[in-house]
């Protein structure tokens, strides 16, 4: 029972991978680690912490997860930060900045003792970033973990946040391209998927059939799928164009565009309306609005697809690409961001810049089933080697060893 989770991961990633984690964690035994973020459920950060924290505990690290408590002004402010850091030009009222600082002060009073006594503190994203400056008696190493792409931030917002970040001992970004200069080491840890989550776990064929039937998808005919928000950067209209161009040569083709329900975001609703207009009159295009927790449905749709598309014009890391590859599907992806790291042209899929390019590759794959299978196999292997949670955990452990053992380009442990 002690190592129940680790044993499950060993059955997928390999016993040697988990043995490696057990060896790497040895110099970390006895240290106290705290993760801090702003929510316990919802969003990618909470999702990853729900797995990483118990796995670290199973490995024998004394680790806890603290969540800061905020009010609506605080979250309005941090949502604006999020958008501004990703490139939107936003003027944030001083009232909201005041709320941001006030909430952090209040949380520092509540959590200060735990944080100050920890050997390593991971602070996730901008929401709790000021805590470092509010814990003057801290004894450990503090790391700011940035999960978002800050390669082209709104400069005024970045300048403000930077003041809260310069005191950290290190920061972590998902890709080198996402980082901003800071006066401390900037580690790079790519995201990962959890093979045991509802979104990625193996499914029975009968369950895949049932989901397909629920949405009127014919499993006897070829299917292309894109899973993404209805956002212009995800180019859903380009995906429909890709499908239309391909269907000329593969008349039985079906397309699923699956995304979250439209929010009150006017852009999202506008794109969704355009998508519906483009898809109108074609019963083989399925535009699905799924609830945020429809992980198993997404899983089944990815497994039902022949080809996964992620025809983004701009993309962060693109975990939907990783998910598709894990299901053994070749991915036709936009030549941008983290898609480039995952999709290797002619190996795990194709990188494209236009609907025409995507359609050409889709036709090619649908007429060369053996190559489609081979690429899918390579894609799955690539995720197995590179993008599973076990690799993510290994890199966190390596980072902690690195920070606790100081500089130099080589650390030799006994």
């Amino acid at each position: 029972m002690m190592n129940e989770m680790l044993d499950q991961y060993a059955s997928i990633a390999g016993e040697h991978v988990v043995d490696q984690l057990r060896q790497l964690v040895k110099p970390l035994k006895g240290i106290r680690v705290v993760h801090v973020n702003s929510t316990r459920k919802g969003g990618g950060v909470a999702e990853i912490l729900h797995k990483l924290v118990p796995l670290k505990q199973e490995l024998g690290i004394d680790v806890s997860w603290e969540v800061i408590e905020g009010d609506s002004d605080f979250f309005s402010c941090t949502k604006s930060f999020h958008n501004a850091l990703q490139g939107n030009r936003i003027k944030i009222p001083s009232r909201l900045i005041d709320a941001y600082e006030r909430v952090n002060r209040r949380n520092a009073e509540r959590l200060g003792k735990v944080l100050e006594q920890a050997d390593i503190v991971f602070v996730h994203d901008p929401q709790p970033a000021p805590l470092l400056g509010l814990c003057p008696e801290r004894k450990g190493k503090w790391i700011w973990r940035c999960h978002i792409d800050v390669s082209r931030p709104d400069r005024a917002v970045w300048k403000y946040l930077r003041n809260h970040l310069t005191g950290y001992d290190a920061s972590v970004f998902s890709l080198a391209a996402f980082a901003q200069p800071l006066p401390h080491p900037e580690y790079l840890i790519a995201p990962s998927i959890d093979p045991l989550s509802e979104k990625n776990i193996d499914l029975e064929e009968s369950e895949i059939d049932a989901v397909a039937e629920q949405f009127g998808i014919d499993r006897g005919r070829p299917l292309m799928l894109q899973v993404s928000r209805f956002d212009s950067f995800k180019d859903p209209i380009g995906v429909i164009r890709t499908y239309q161009l391909t269907k000329t040569f593969v008349p039985t083709l079906q397309l699923v565009l699956a995304g979250g329900e439209a929010t009150d975001d006017p852009e999202s609703q506008k794109i969704l309306d355009e998508v519906r207009a483009s898809a109108e009159g074609d019963p083989d295009i399925h535009v699905l609005l799924l609830p945020a927790d429809a992980h198993r449905t997404i899983n089944a749709l990815q497994r039902a697809a022949d080809i996964v598309l992620q025809k983004s014009l701009r993309e962060g890391f693109g975990l939907t690409v990783t998910e598709g590859m894990w299901k053994g599907k070749p991915v036709i992806g936009g030549d941008t961001g983290g898609i480039r790291i995952q999709v290797v042209n002619h190996q795990t899929g194709f990188l494209v810049s236009t609907p025409e390019g995507a359609a050409l590759r889709a036709r090619y794959l649908l007429f060369h089933r053996d190559l489609l299978q081979e690429m899918g196999r390579k894609a799955k292997n690539s995720v197995l080697e590179n993008f599973l949670l076990t690799r993510h955990l290994r890199e966190y452990l390596t980072l902690m060893v690195s920070l606790l053992h100081g500089g130099g380009d080589r650390i030799e442990l006994e």
Binding site: Q23, L24, P27, E186, Y187, A190, R394, T398, L413
Partner: protein, 224 residues
């Protein structure tokens, strides 16, 4: 670490993991690349030739170092990519001669071209360096035939440490297996020759593990 040329010294299987660290240096055109190659920390040159094998990515089947891949995919300079792709880091005694080879090739290319090749803004070359953490696996072998059973279950980190990283730290710049086998006098000279013929530069770590496993299996005839 393996100690070379000691008779029947046990072989301790070690493992390693990399912490990748951004240097903050980046290049958008070939001249900026050259400037950064001149000044970047030695670890970054090593990283972009070797450490790619241990980081989350699929090996580029066409180019086996990051400079060549960037020249091809971001600068669209096929000629430069081919020249950079032919650099074999095992042929250089240390990082500085390797750095100089890069500089020479890029300078030559800049002399040949009338316009400096540029990449798109989102395809800049980001210089990365790394810290390697080396740790034990609690596995020790005393007889070479034990390699038949041990190598297939070695992690990618372990293969990297013993077959690639070893070339930077052993006398004669060889892998740890050969260094250890030399300690058995001349008994395994043919196995040493077979290992010398395995080119680590053109294979991913899982492929290397498969190659080495097959090699030991065939040599010892499954009599582990």
């Amino acid at each position: 670490m393996v100690k070379t040329n000691k008779i029947h010294n046990p072989f301790e299987i070690r493992d390693c993991a990399l912490a990748a660290i951004a240097t903050g240096q980046k290049a958008q055109n070939l001249r900026e690349l050259l400037q950064s190659i001149r000044s970047v920390v030695p670890g970054s040159i090593v990283y972009h030739f070797w450490a790619g094998k241990l980081r989350p990515r699929f090996d580029d089947p066409e180019f086996n170092n990051d400079f060549a891949a960037w020249a091809r995919h971001a600068l669209h300079d096929k000629l430069l990519a081919e020249r950079l792709g032919m650099i074999d880091p095992t042929m250089f005694e240390g990082v500085e001669p390797l750095r100089q080879e890069l500089i020479d090739i890029i300078e030559e290319r800049l002399d040949e071209t009338e316009r400096i090749p540029w990449s798109d803004p989102d395809q800049q070359f980001h210089f990365i360096t790394s810290q390697i953490v080396v740790f034990g696996s609690q596995r020790v072998i005393r007889e070479p035939r034990e390699l038949v059973t041990v190598v297939p279950s070695m992690t990618s980190g372990s293969i990297f440490y013993h077959f690639i990283d070893a070339r930077r730290r052993t006398f004669g710049h060889m892998d740890d297996f050969r260094a250890w086998l030399y300690g058995f006098n001349d008994r395994y000279h043919d196995l040493i020759d077979l290992l010398a013929a395995v080119d680590p530069f053109f294979s991913s770590l899982p492929e290397l593990r498969r190659q080495l496993s097959a090699l030991f299996e065939e040599y010892f005839g499954g009599n582990a």
